[in-house]
């Protein structure tokens, strides 16, 4: 755990992009390690670690975003295979992926969390189509995946046929915690750049920004203090936990405030960062746009608060 964090820290410091195999390494890999049979572990883990096979994760659907339990993709039995039909959305880097971890309903009449399977799907199978989605930042990280009568061998169900939901929640817990830690480091790097820029301003302008810098520093220190607690929690295996939602909310507000402060420095030029004299100002504008999405992806802030209310505070489910 500590090693992974230190490694991530170095990557971020060097301003390296996220490792291309991140979804596999951070999300799918641990899930296969935990729930997979010996055969599945052997088939997948080594190649995943070696970076020979890249992974993506198909959980969300157009009508199952915050409410993942209403997913409609089906995987129905057909002799030794399962036949997969449906559509996934917001899948990162699906165009490059060799494999996809897919949540699908194995009984079309079942509802909510029931009869959901966790399938390991070959992205090179016939019937798989990927469409890139252009984000506001101009990037194309996210994709839609369409499955039309895609055959998946029954042996590629991870865990039991109805255990997909539990595994997915576990996966999401790890993903949230790990993501918060990495993103926190990236934000600190952006903050260092910001300080440099303010230092370079004339003294009247830099004085005007001093308090905002101070506030940002406080928020980042608080975020890091909270990460110390999270690392302890991860080390103790206390994941997934409703505390993940606390971390997520704290990350979101920190990040949104950071890039708002940074782009405010650009004034009108925040939409044409190339026009500013600040090097790499585009990173800030992208951070601003990305930061607004942070309160939506992986469960909106409203959902995170409901999780806290119900599972940390023991309040009744809101009707």
């Amino acid at each position: 755990m500590a090693h992974t964090i230190a490694f991530t820290q170095e990557l971020v410091r060097a301003r390296a992009p996220q490792p291309v195999g991140a979804i596999g390494l951070e999300v799918v890999g641990p899930t296969i390690l935990r729930y997979g049979s010996d055969e599945l572990r052997e088939r997948f883990l080594e190649r995943l670690l070696a970076g020979e096979e890249l992974w993506c994760q198909g959980f969300s659907e157009p009508d199952a975003g915050s409410d993942l339990s209403s997913l409609r993709t089906t995987a129905l039995e057909d002799r030794d295979d399962l036949v997969l039909n449906g559509q996934k959305i917001w899948t990162s880097w699906a165009t490059d992926a060799d494999w996809c971890a897919v949540l699908a309903r194995m009984d079309p009449d079942a509802h909510a969390h029931r009869a959901i399977g966790y399938l390991l799907v070959d992205m090179h199978s016939p019937g798989v189509t990927v469409r890139e989605i252009t984000q506001l930042t101009g990037e194309r990280e996210f994709c839609e995946i369409f499955f039309a009568d895609v055959h998946v061998p029954r042996s590629q169900i991870l865990g039991g046929p109805g255990e997909g939901w539990t595994m997915a929640m576990d996966t999401l817990g790890h993903e949230r915690a790990g993501y918060a830690i990495r993103r926190g480091m990236e934000n600190r790097t952006a903050f260092l750049d910001l300080i440099d820029v303010v230092r370079g301003c004339d003294s009247e302008l830099s004085a005007a920004h001093a308090k905002a810098l101070g506030e940002l520093y406080v928020r980042l220190e608080v975020f890091d203090a909270n990460v110390e607690v999270t690392v302890e929690r991860l080390t103790n295996g206390d994941v997934p936990s409703p505390h993940d939602s606390v971390d997520k909310l704290l990350l979101t507000e920190t990040e949104q405030f950071l890039y708002e402060t940074a782009t405010d420095l650009l004034g009108a030029l925040r939409v044409v960062p190339d026009a500013s004299s600040i090097p790499d100002a585009e990173v800030w504008t992208k951070g601003l746009l990305y930061g607004r999405a942070a309160s939506v992806y992986g469960g909106s802030s409203q959902i995170q608060r409901s999780i806290i209310a119900e599972r940390l505070l023991g309040l009744p489910k809101a009707r």
């Binding site: 506001l136 009108a268 939409v271 026009a275 909106s300």
Partner: protein, 364 residues
């Protein structure tokens, strides 16, 4: 003079219908999404007589004021209509007030798209001419690639403020479109290579130029606020509509209290921004000092309020809002652009505060 309420409502409806009609034509939206400008969209504005609203009767116009022109900006904000409606409007207002005899300019600005070159627009260094010659690299000027005319505010070294209107096609002025997160602002880099405005091109000098520029800026701020107000109102409408339709957890998301609280806050922000714009517009024909101040107040509020509303709209919409193909994101990036145009809330609030302390602004 001002339109009576029924006529104003009818005029606004006509404007809205014309916008919808031209935007429904296949080519318009892609053009706007590329450079913020479309010849056919501009023709709609020109031929609809939208700009004539601000041309004095003595010059053959409708002789109305900002109050009757502003709804066009609100509709432009709601439709992401693009084009230099702020620039042409602000210039018409400033010229008709401070140089009403320049009928030639009034006609030009009522017809052809204009770009304003003014350091206050994007917080640049002051533009200075040496011996009447302008040489400069301007990092970002709205619609500089689409404009037929450039209204340039600068300081003639040793001689004070000056305002000139020059041909945008002059070989001494070269504009190139910037890659932008908000194409609807049509930001371009503009280079002046020893541009020398002719005597006939210089509109005013000295204190008169200063007064014109102050008025131009106030009008631009207020019109930008009105555009933001219309943009926010549309973002709210889209969100309410979406909340009615989108289902999660077996019900429409509009039935969730958490979503309702957000939409209600958006409503407070949107309605109060509209009220602020109206209050400022009523003061457009009053004392210049008071108008400049209230325009700054309106811009300060619009800068935060509209942004807040659109950010909340993104939140209500969820993931879909962050794709380029869904329209809401463009409202956000345009709001971010307008937020900073002619000063954001930080700038205006700080300045107003300093003026309150110095006594330059007095509270009634």
């Amino acid at each position: 003079m001002a339109l009576d309420s029924d006529t104003a409502t009818e005029f606004r409806r006509v404007v809205r219908d014309s916008m919808n009609a031209i935007l429904a034509r296949p080519g318009t939206r892609p053009e706007l999404a590329a450079s913020g400008y479309s010849d056919s969209a501009w023709a709609t504005a020109r031929d609809g007589g939208w700009l004539e609203v601000l041309v004095p009767e003595s010059a053959g116009g409708a002789g109305l004021g900002l109050q009757d022109y502003a709804p066009i900006l609100s509709e432009a904000g709601a439709h992401l209509f693009g084009g230099p409606l702020i620039e042409n409007g602000a210039a018409l207002r400033a010229i008709s007030t401070h140089a009403p005899d320049r009928v030639d300019l009034l006609h030009q600005f009522a017809h052809a798209p204009l770009a304003i070159v003014d350091s206050a627009a994007t917080g640049d260094r002051l533009l200075v001419s040496d011996d009447g010659v302008l040489t400069a690299e301007l990092p970002a000027v709205r619609f500089a690639t689409s404009a037929r005319w450039l209204l340039v505010a600068y300081v003639r070294r040793g001689n004070g403020p000056e305002v000139a209107v020059v041909d945008a096609r002059s070989s001494a002025a070269e504009a190139s479109l910037r890659p932008s997160f908000d194409p609807y602002s049509g930001y371009a880099a503009l280079r002046f290579d020893a541009l020398r405005p002719a005597a006939s091109e210089i509109v005013l000098s000295g204190a008169q130029a200063q007064a014109l520029v102050a008025d131009l800026r106030a009008a631009a701020r207020l019109l930008a606020s009105c555009e933001l107000s219309g943009l926010a109102a549309r973002a709210l409408d889209m969100s309410v509509e979406y909340a009615h339709q989108r289902r999660q957890f077996g019900r429409t998301i509009g039935s969730f209290q958490a979503i309702q609280q957000i939409l209600a806050d958006m409503t407070v922000r949107t309605l109060s921004l509209q009220a602020m714009c109206q209050a400022a517009l009523k003061r457009a024909d009053g004392a210049r000092g008071a108008f400049c101040r209230v325009a700054n107040v309106a811009k300060a509020y619009a800068a935060v309020a509209a942004r807040e509303v659109v950010e909340a709209a993104l939140q209500v919409h969820g993931g879909i809002a962050f794709t380029r193909e869904f329209g809401l994101g463009s409202y956000y990036t345009h709001a971010l652009a307008l937020q900073g145009y002619y000063g954001d809330h930080h700038q205006h609030m700080s300045e107003l505060g300093e003026q309150l302390i110095s006594g330059e602004v007095v509270v009634a």
